[in-house]
């Protein structure tokens, strides 16, 4: 499935992934391929994106929303950037 993480200033991540874990407003949500259309508000925390081949990308996000539609995950965050440590 295709995942993109967009912050107000730029697109932070854009690519294919096997799973996404994101901090929603009330707890973590995990998204796997072929998830039903879904929209939720984001809280604050770290988005983990697992790609084929075991690559794990960690991004810290704050505010905004997450949208899943026809195998495309879009994380639109007020702030997003690489998670440090």
């Amino acid at each position: 499935m295709h995942v993109s993480v967009i912050s107000a200033e730029r697109a932070v991540f854009d690519g294919e992934a096997e799973s996404v874990v994101a901090p929603a407003f009330d707890g973590l949500v995990g998204i796997l391929p072929r998830h039903a259309p879904f929209m939720t508000l984001l809280g604050e925390g770290v988005v983990k994106i697992s790609q084929a081949g075991g690559t794990l990308t960690r991004l810290s996000v704050m505010g905004g929303f997450l949208q899943v539609a026809s195998n495309v995950v879009r994380i639109v965050a007020r702030r997003a950037g690489p998670a440090d440590s």
């Binding site: 993109s4 967009i6 912050s7 107000a8 200033e9 730029r10 697109a11 929603a24 407003f25 009330d26 039903a36 259309p37 879904f38 929209m39 939720t40 508000l41 505010g63 905004g64 929303f65 949208q67 539609a69 879009r74 639109v76 007020r78 702030r79």
Partner: protein, 298 residues
Amino acid sequence: MAKPRELKRRIRSVQNTKKITKTMELVSTSKLKRAQDRVVGARPYAQALAEVIGQLYSPELAERFPLLRQPGKSARGAGVRRAALLLITSNRGLCGAFNANLIREARRRLEELEAQDAHTELHLVGKKGISYFKFTKRNVASQRVDIGDRPTLDHAAELAKPLMERFSNGDLDAVDVVFAKFNSAVSTPPTTLRVLPITPPAAKGGEGRRGAANYILKPSAEEILQQLLPLYVQNQFYRALVETAAAEHGARRTAMKNATDAGSDMLTILQRTFNRARQAQITQELAEIVGGAEALKG
């Protein structure tokens, strides 16, 4: 004919000015490049927000959100009674008619609002706008010069917050922003954008509410809109700031390029005049020497 020494001095002065304008042109070009990247980078976010709001928006919901309140439906009858205008200008000059155009657009808009009997307050960003309205002795509600040519989201939030609050409370019926729209480096028309009340962005492909009905929404369409509408407003302020910054560099580059070209033209003419004057002087000196020698032979 001017004296060669005088001409020499002017040639040097034009050459030095040309060096400065040439450098400013190069600096602006590289700053423009970076500013342009920021404009482009801000686009997907704005697009995504607009799309989702368009999908969630429905006229029934609109009644419940103060940010969507249309002036006609306010408690005090129809029309805009109190409006705010935010004008974004640059802090620095030497960019041609860039600031003058923005100020002209703002004045046009002010007149338009005042013709509708709206009490209009003016908010200013950038030294150029501030000094102009100080000169005309107009009351200014707020002003700031600290944003410069690298606006951040925090700047936009600071600008948007008080205006959004006052709009929600009903102290304002409309908020307009005058900024330079960045179509391309050479096309940056001054533009007025009504940020509040929010004009709901149309959903793509006319799917409207039906598109949203298929979603699992958490917590609810209302809650999500509640969160996203302020972000949308903030983002419009942010885009106005970023686009104006990029447009400023574009305008400065054009102005400096014109100045450099004009300098080159002047140099050509001055150099030619100088050469002619020098030649004339040599010819005259020769004539004098020959004349003197003739006289001595006498």
